[in-house]
């Protein structure tokens, strides 16, 4: 079990590094291609490590480790300080880093979810501004309009929630903050999430992160995957309203421009949103990866991980 966990840690680092490099070297990849690549980095180590252990026990033999493996953790057991092997130290440090990365995202998320519940009371959209904007955005995205829940609060709240039937949660403060075209862009973004059932996908990612909290590679891949889901929703919103600049303006308005009032978590979110703005505004991110191309990359990664033994 320890060896399997160590293999998931090592495979996670390898898969995430490879995918990060692939994406970095190909800035023209579309959001869907990025999403599928990060999904590969997230899921590959999780199921390949047990599968290899089950189907190819000979991978663990010295003959494979010494003659065939690109990397074998057993070679690191020779490097030791006071009887503690470097391999074990690295796996433990990796596991600690994984736990920190998980808590760094999970704790603020849980706190934010708790404070959001207490933020304001639900009211009816009497003016009909939001309801009609949601209907228009849904039509532009070729999907049915999700239910709208409106909160009476000065905070600019906008989210897509719900596992089976996603709903849009918006606040009166949001309507006051954004110009009508920006509101349409922001709503289109959330409706894109609802269309793809991103809240459910997001929870699957959270469960995976919790289950594999010890894998730093998986934590990084999961965060990047969520960012890519956001970026894909930005792209959809830009196509729906026909103006990427408005999407970026809405995003930046919602995050605010006063760094000194933000917590570390909010500052990270702000930086992430600025990165998303750069992405949604960048031209030429249209290169998709065909099914055959993805299969080839998955095979390449599977081969690389096959010859990587913890």
């Amino acid at each position: 079990m320890d060896r399997l966990a160590a293999e998931i840690v090592v495979h996670g680092v390898v898969a995430t590094s490879v995918v990060a490099l692939l994406i970095h070297l190909q800035p023209d990849l579309s959001s869907s291609a990025r999403f599928r690549l990060w999904l590969l980095a997230l899921l590959g180590p999780v199921w390949l490590a047990p599968l290899y252990a089950l189907l190819f026990p000979a991978r663990l033999a010295d003959a494979f480790r010494d003659d065939w493996a690109l990397f074998s953790g057993s070679h690191w057991t020779s490097v030791a300080w006071h009887g503690v092997g470097a391999g074990a130290v690295m796996v433990l440090l990796g596991a600690g880093l994984g736990l920190l990365l998980f808590l760094r995202d999970f704790v603020p998320l849980a706190a934010e979810a708790g404070s959001a519940r207490a933020r304001g009371r639900e009211v009816a959209d009497r003016s009909g501004v939001l309801t009609s904007a949601v209907a228009r955005a849904a039509q532009a995205l070729d999907t049915s309009a999700p239910a709208l829940h409106m909160w009476n609060t000065e905070d600019a709240v906008l989210a897509c929630r719900g596992l089976r039937r996603p709903v849009i949660v918006a606040s009166t403060g949001l309507v006051r903050l954004l110009a009508p075209n920006e509101l349409a862009a922001a709503l289109a973004h959330e409706i894109a999430h609802a269309k793809w059932r991103d809240p459910a996908r997001g929870w699957v990612v959270v469960v995976l992160r919790a289950a594999f909290f010890f894998s730093p590679g998986l934590q990084v891949a999961a965060r990047a995957l969520v960012q890519t889901m956001e970026s894909a929703a930005d792209d959809s919103a830009a196509r729906a309203i026909g103006d990427a600049r408005t999407v970026a303006q809405a995003l930046l308005k919602m995050v605010g421009d006063r760094d000194d009032r933000l917590t570390a978590w909010q500052r990270w979110k702000k930086r992430a949103i600025e990165h998303r703005c750069a992405l949604v505004l960048s031209p030429g991110r249209t290169v998709s990866v065909s099914a055959a191309g993805m299969a080839a990359m998955a095979t390449g990664l599977a081969l690389l991980l096959f010859f990587t033994v913890a």
Binding site: L21, P27, D62, S78, V79, A80, E274, L281, V287
Partner: protein, 190 residues
């Protein structure tokens, strides 16, 4: 802020889809090379081949290989262990190097394998210029050799087989002392 984002976005250069394949191949090759490099670091540190493990204790080496060398400890109580190495390939073998507590320049290396030879990765061959047979306890015979070191020095080597175990003892001290140590070890052989 938006202008900064716009400036950043203008730096992207569109690429042809065909290049994606070449980039992927390059990334996978780079990853394979990096993994191989990381795997080789312990060997660079220790100077040992990747099939040889440095062990912290004799028990660890015995557990790894199935070769028993516990008699060395009882025979050379008081000698300081310098290195304990083990390998399972091509045959299971252990090497223990000990230093005389009184004469620090006198070293003893005991090699034992479960084969008719000790792998060269553990016991590198040395040019020998003299060899004779000497008797050991339990009716066994050992080969005593004088071997030349690359440094110009000379060491003595005693080599014998007992059952399925093959033993080699290398010693930088006097020949008579090596024979005494060899007999001590051979007495504890099965």
């Amino acid at each position: 802020m938006l202008e900064a984002a716009l400036h950043k976005s203008s730096q992207g250069v569109p690429r042809s889809p065909g290049r994606a394949f070449a980039v992927s191949i390059m990334v996978f090759l780079a990853a394979a090379l990096a993994l191989r490099g990381v795997d080789a670091i312990p060997s660079w540190f220790s100077g040992l081949p990747r099939t040889v493990r440095a062990c912290a204790t004799l028990e660890e080496a015995e557990e790894l290989t199935g070769v028993e060398l516990g008699a060395v400890w009882s025979a050379f109580r008081g000698w300081h262990p310098v290195a304990i190495r083990a390998t399972r390939r091509p045959v299971a073998a252990i090497a223990v190097t000990l230093r005389n507590p009184v004469e620090a320049e006198t070293e003893l290396a005991v090699y034992r394998s479960l084969d008719d030879r000790v792998p060269e990765s553990l016991c590198p061959p040395l040019p020998s210029f003299h060899a004779i047979n000497v008797p050991l306890p339990k009716g066994r015979t050992a080969t005593l050799k004088a071997e030349a070191l690359s440094s110009g020095g000379v060491l003595q080597e005693l080599e014998w087989t007992a059952g399925r175990e093959h033993s080699v003892v290398r010693f930088t001290g006097r020949t008579v002392e090596l024979l005494r140590l060899g007999r001590l070890l051979a007495e504890k052989d099965p």
